[in-house]
Every structure is written in C-alpha cells, then in structure tokens.
C-alpha cells in the first residue's frame, strides 16, 4: 500500500487535495444545494420549511405577487447593486492616488506607508462602523467640529443630518473596503519597470499621456483584483447598512438576514440569497472576462 502511494504521483496529488475537497463538499456544495432546494419550498404557519417545488419565492422577488405587481424587492436588489457600484468607484478614486504616492516614495519608506494603510484594518469590522456612528450622528464629532468652526467664523450653522442615511452607509462601505483596493493597486504599480517611463519620455509622451497610456493599463490587474475584493463583500453585507442606515436602508443582505431570523421565512430568504449569488457570479465572470483575471488577489 505504502509502496503504491510512493510510486504513484497521481495518487499522491489526489490524497493531498482530499481533505480540502471533503471540507468544500461538506460546507459549500451540500449547503448551497440545500439552499437551492429550500428556495423552491414553502413555509408553514410555524415557520417550518415544507419541501415542495414552487417558483413562487422567485416570482415574488421579481415583483409578481398574488396581490399584483410590487417592485419592493426589485428595488432592494437594484439599490444594493447601485450602492456596490458607487462604493467601488469612489474607492478606486481614493485608493489610486495613495497607491501611486506609496509606489513612488523612496523604497525604504514604502513598507511603513503600507503598514499605515493596514493598521485601521486591525480594529474590528463592527467597531469601525460604530466609530462612524460616533462621527456622523447629529450631535457627533463631525457636527460639533463644523459647529465650532462656524462659531469661530461667525456664520450660521445647520447641523448635518447624516445618520442614519444612505450616505452614511456609503461612507461606511468606502471606509471598510478602501485598504483592499490600495494594496492590490500598489502591488501592480510597484511592478512597473522604470525603463518604461523612460521609453515613454524618449518617445515624447508628456506626463499625462504617460500616465494614461503606460501606468493605468499596467495597473489594471490591481484595479480588477481590488474591485473583486470590494464589490463582492459590499453587495452581500448587511452589517454596515444595519448600523449606519437604521431601518431606512434595506439591502439584499438585510433582506436575507431578516427572512431567516426575524420573519422566519427561510424559503424566501434562500431564494433571495440564490439571486444574490447568481448576480455576483455573473458580474464577476463578465468583469474578469472583460478586464482579465485578478492575478493580484493573491499578492494583496
């Protein structure tokens, strides 16, 4: 037996992958299959799942209810999608200059500057969002600072009503995922050969042209990786919207969570979660086909 394993490389590889595949089957394949099965089911009066085959949950999500057309859930899906797109774009716009700045700093200083990007990540995810509650609420740090400045300048000041709101959710999302964009963009910028810039300069490209024709294309893998690392968690989260949006901002994540824990309607929650998964996979697949694979995920 042992001799057989020693000589057979195919068997060795298979044995090495076996534990990982066992875990994936038990905790990914079977659970997702069960979720799909549940999404075709119904619930009884006590919130127990009755396994049937009905597309009712999906129809309801798409707006076709027994009472007629109702786009409540469609709007939730679109809102989540729109918020994820907004977050990703803002994060790219904020991350790129900083990543560029770090990549062009003296080599000795780069590690320290990157380290500074990572430190905020080490507080807890939930606590970081709570910090934004402290800043944004009506009597919070932002309003009292602005109020004090207005007082000094002797101008009237109307406190900003930011919390809870969709803007607060957007700020929270941008904050949570900014470092995940900075790191991969930095990694791809750092790899660019300096000689390419010299070549561009020799060919009479000005700084702007060099940036658009050399730097940006070569940093695309970093942007793609950062987008994947930002977009997917944003579209599926319910924590940020729960804490910073109050009851006003309901995203797919909140919908799924409430159907499972408050409304006790697992089949409907399962259907929403499957829609979320399909939406994410289709977009990720399209995006990576269009812009290349996110090779920098591993590096970041």
């Amino acid at each position: 037996m042992i001799q057989h394993i020693r000589e057979n490389r195919r068997l060795q590889g298979f044995l090495l992958i076996l534990p990982a595949m066992f875990v994936m089957v038990m905790l990914l394949v079977i659970p997702l299959t069960l979720t799909v099965i549940t999404s075709f089911g119904q619930r009884d009066a006590d919130g127990n799942v009755i396994y049937t085959f009905t597309l009712e949950n999906y129809w309801r999500l798409m707006g076709f209810t027994e009472q007629g057309w109702d786009d409540l859930y469609l709007r939730i899906l679109l809102r989540s999608l729109w918020l994820a797109v907004q977050t990703t774009v803002i994060v790219i716009l904020m991350a790129y200059p900083l990543a560029y700045f770090i990549a062009r700093s003296p080599e000795k200083r780069r590690n320290f500057l990157l380290f500074l990007v990572l430190v905020p990540l080490w507080t807890n995810f939930v606590i970081r969002i709570y910090a934004w509650v402290m800043i944004l609420r009506s009597q919070g740090v932002l309003n009292s600072t602005l109020g004090a400045i207005a007082g000094l300048l002797n101008v009237p000041f109307q406190p900003l009503d930011l919390y809870p709101s969709q803007t607060a959710v957007l700020i929270g999302m941008v904050y949570e995922f900014l470092p995940f964009m900075i790191l991969p963009i930095y990694t791809s910028l750092e790899k660019i050969e300096p000689s390419l810039y010299e070549a561009a300069a020799d060919l009479y490209a000005n700084a702007f042209r060099t940036f658009w024709r050399v730097t940006v294309p070569l940093s695309m893998p970093g942007i793609v990786a950062g987008t994947i690392l930002t977009f997917i968690p944003v579209i599926g989260t319910f924590v940020v919207s729960d804490i910073l949006g109050g009851r006003q901002v309901i995203l797919v994540g909140n919908l799924v969570q409430r159907q499972f824990l408050d409304a006790r309607n697992p089949p409907f929650g399962a259907a929403a979660s499957i829609i979320l998964l399909v939406m994410t996979l289709v977009l990720t697949l399209y995006y990576t086909r269009r812009f290349g694979l996110g090779e920098e995920i591993a590096a970041g």
């Binding site: 298979f14 090495l16 990540l121 080490w122 507080t123 606590i127 910090a131 997917i232 989260t237 979660s273």
Partner: protein
C-alpha cells in the same frame, strides 16, 4: 517603480486619504477616556475610582461577557487557523505540483468561496447544520439537554471552510517559482520523501505558509457574517458581542476594548517583524 519627486497635489491628496483612514480610529481612542457614559459628547477625561482616566479599561476587565467573548474568539481563531493552514497547504501542493483526476474541478471549487458573498455561504451552512442536527436529534430521540445545537464547533468548522481557499491561494503564489530540482537533488543524495519534505520543501515554502496562516487568523478574528449565522449559545465572539451592544446602550467600554485591540495587534506585528529581521 522608481522614487521621484512627488507632486504637491498628490502628497496633499494622500495625506487626506490617510486622514480619512485614521479619523475614526482617533475618535475611538479619544472617547475611551470620556467622562460621559453615553458616548455621544466628549465631556472631559474620566477620573473615577482607583483606575482614574483608565476607568473604562478597568470596567472592561471586570466584564465577564467580554472576557468570555475574547476567549471564544481566540479559541476559534487558533483552531481554525491550524487546521485550515494544514489542509490549505496540502491543497496548494497538490494543485501546483501534481496531476490528478479532478484537478480542474478542485481548482474551481477552491476559488468559489472567494467570489461567493459571505452571507450566501453563512446561510447555506446554517441551513445545512439545522437540517443535519434536526435529523439526528429526531432520529436518536435525544433529550433537550443532549440535543445537538449550533455553538463553538459549528463556528470553528465554518471558519476552517472559508479560510482554506485563502491559505491555498497564498501558498500557491509562493510555490510558483519553486524549483523541483532541489527536491530531486535531495532525493539523489539519499534523503527519503519525509526528510526531503522536512529539510527542503518546508523551509522553502515556510514564508508562504506563515503568510497564509496569518491571513487565516486575521479573517477568523474579524469575521462577523458567517459567525453570525453559525453561532449558538455560549459561543459569542467579540464581533458578535459588539454587534449586540450596538442595539442597546454603548458605553466607552467598547472604545477601551477597541483601543486595546489595536495595541495588541500592533505589538504582535512588531514582534513578528522583529523575528523576520533577525532571520
């Protein structure tokens, strides 16, 4: 990229982005010394009891639920890191260096969790465990006290599952430039497979394995969503505890907790940096 003189605009924008990253952290730390219980307005530095300005820190250490949650968080993070690092490294070796039946499928299966929203995985595992536990409990007609429920076990298992793909990814990146001839040379010199692995392969991939383990540990420590759906009585982690607090009244204890959290991580990173420098 080469170092060059930076434009002042770029420097200014970078400073602003750093400010945005740090403002919440500074607010958290400052408010951990707040005299007011309510944590809304800063009413001066607290000076109460034997701990003086560190009043909320002392309160924190007297808080049993926080201490229990800390213990749970660390147990879960350590266990899931050890197991997922071993399994993930094995998978990385298999995918990078062996050909076997079902390689393409395994590769896809291991990338899938990375592009799956966490909530989808969390819900799936919740559905799975409740079905399995319900079935076992009914089949064995267990008494209420013996019934299987969600708890530390289910959280650990779920953390192992979502960490493995990340460990594999990081270790594979390290194996990318691995020279197979080093192992062949060791074998030619009479080392058996085990010695070769221990003396040649492992030292070469060790930095990758360590990076993978650190990533797994961080992911586990910070995880909220999957833990939220797989936790049960007696298995409250710090993120879950904090989330529960947010729905009630938040005192500066929470700020003290996050300040300590940042400090501990800073110290751990400093120590690991120091060890790396020494090598």
């Amino acid at each position: 990229m080469s170092a060059k003189k930076q434009s002042p605009w770029l420097t200014l924008v970078s400073i602003l982005v750093y400010f945005f990253l740090y403002a919440p952290i500074i607010v958290l730390i400052v408010f951990s010394f707040n005299a007011s219980r309510t944590n809304v307005v800063f009413e001066g530095v607290v000076n109460q009891g034997p701990c003086g300005p560190f009043y909320w820190y002392c309160e924190l250490f007297r808080n049993r639920s926080v201490m229990d949650a800390t213990r749970n968080t660390l147990i879960i993070a350590f266990t899931s890191t050890v197991v997922s690092t071993i399994i993930g490294t094995m998978a990385a070796l298999a995918l990078q260096r062996y050909d076997f039946f079902g390689k393409k499928v395994s590769e896809t299966a291991l990338y899938f969790p990375i592009v799956t929203p966490e909530i989808v995985m969390g819900i799936g595992i919740l559905v799975f465990f409740s079905a399995v536990f319900g079935w076992i409990n009914t089949a064995l007609a267990l008494a209420p006290s013996q019934r299987l429920t969600m708890g530390l076990g289910t959280v650990i298992v779920s953390h192992i599952a979502f960490s493995i793909p990340f460990v594999t990814l990081v270790v594979r990146a390290r194996l990318h430039g691995f020279d197979d001839r080093l192992e062949e040379a060791a074998m030619d010199l009479g080392a058996n497979e085990f010695t070769t692995f221990r003396k040649v392969t492992l030292p070469l991939i060790a930095p990758g394995v360590l990076a993978g383990a650190m990533l797994a540990f961080t992911l586990s420590l910070d995880d909220f969503i999957i833990t939220f759906f797989t936790t049960g009585p007696g298995a409250t982690t710090l993120p879950i505890y904090v989330y529960g607090l947010l729905r009630r009244i938040v005192t500066p204890e929470l700020n003290a907790l996050s300040t300590i959290w940042v400090l501990v991580v800073l110290i751990v990173v400093a120590i690991s940096q120091w060890f790396q420098r020494r090598e």
